[in-house]
């Protein structure tokens, strides 16, 4: 099973790298779905079957469908892809890549000092999660429901169409 983890991790890193470097939005979304499915496999071999299922259903299902809907609504054609390709020159990547690499190197340095502990002696069953969720974490569930309600109201209020587009300001 250990090989499964490493293969899925390699697929996840590769597809995530492809997400941030593609010019076509739909290609990026499909790579993001692949990345999330491989992460679901990682969760499964780490002994979190419920989280693996939720990753597929909620992340790769619901959230990605939202993204695909928006891409379809905006009808991003070849013009946008050409513009993206123009923005994707190596000069634009130099600064962000250096900053990310520095932070990643620091993270590796900090993690290098940790012990060689092993994960996943046995899976954590959904029953345990449910007991904890509706026991000590009850308040967190209530807050999550409030957050989702706020997200629903906010998305509805923002996506209305009845506000006219902004007029161009005269100089």
């Amino acid at each position: 099973m250990n090989a499964t983890f490493y293969i899925a991790a390699a697929v996840a890193v590769f597809s995530t790298g492809m997400v941030v470097t593609r010019a076509n939005a739909v290609h990026s979304l499909l790579y993001l779905v692949v990345s999330m499915l491989s992460l679901a496999l990682v969760f499964f071999v780490l002994g979190a079957p419920l989280i693996a299922a939720l990753e597929v259903v909620v992340y790769a299902g619901a959230i990605m469908v939202l993204f695909v809907f928006v891409v379809m609504m905006l009808n991003l054609g070849g013009r946008i892809a050409a513009q993206e390709r123009a923005w994707l020159n190596p000069r634009a990547w130099r600064g962000p890549a250096a900053l990310s690499a520095i932070l990643f190197a620091e993270l590796l340095y900090v993690l290098g000092a940790s012990s060689g502990a092993l994960t996943g002696a046995e899976p954590v069953q959904p029953k345990e999660i449910g007991r904890a969720l509706f026991g000590p974490y009850m308040l967190a569930v209530e807050l999550a429901s409030m957050l989702l309600l706020a997200g629903l109201v906010g998305a509805f209020a923002l996506a209305r169409r009845d506000v006219p587009p902004r007029k161009e300001r005269n100089p």
Binding site: L54, E122, L133
Partner: protein
Amino acid sequence: MTATIPLMHGLVLAGTLFAIGLLGLLARRNILYILMSIEIMLNATGLAFVVAGSRWNQADGQIMFLIILTMAAAEVAVGLALLLRFHHQFKTLDADAASTMRG
């Protein structure tokens, strides 16, 4: 039937994904890609929680993932609604177009 990998390998995977998401967030100018990079970073954070929960065989890590998942869902709904409104007003997805708002 679970893998017993060193804790560090799982955390390094989470850190790698987070760094890639951060790179995308910094380098791209399209709002759609910025939102996708945020999703990648949130997902990587959740992975770190699940790896730690798996190390100590506790459910708490997975509950944290559930909370992050809820937050990501709410965030992406509001973010995509903002993106639709942005495209409606500026006819582009270039984040630099918003600098004319002088906010």
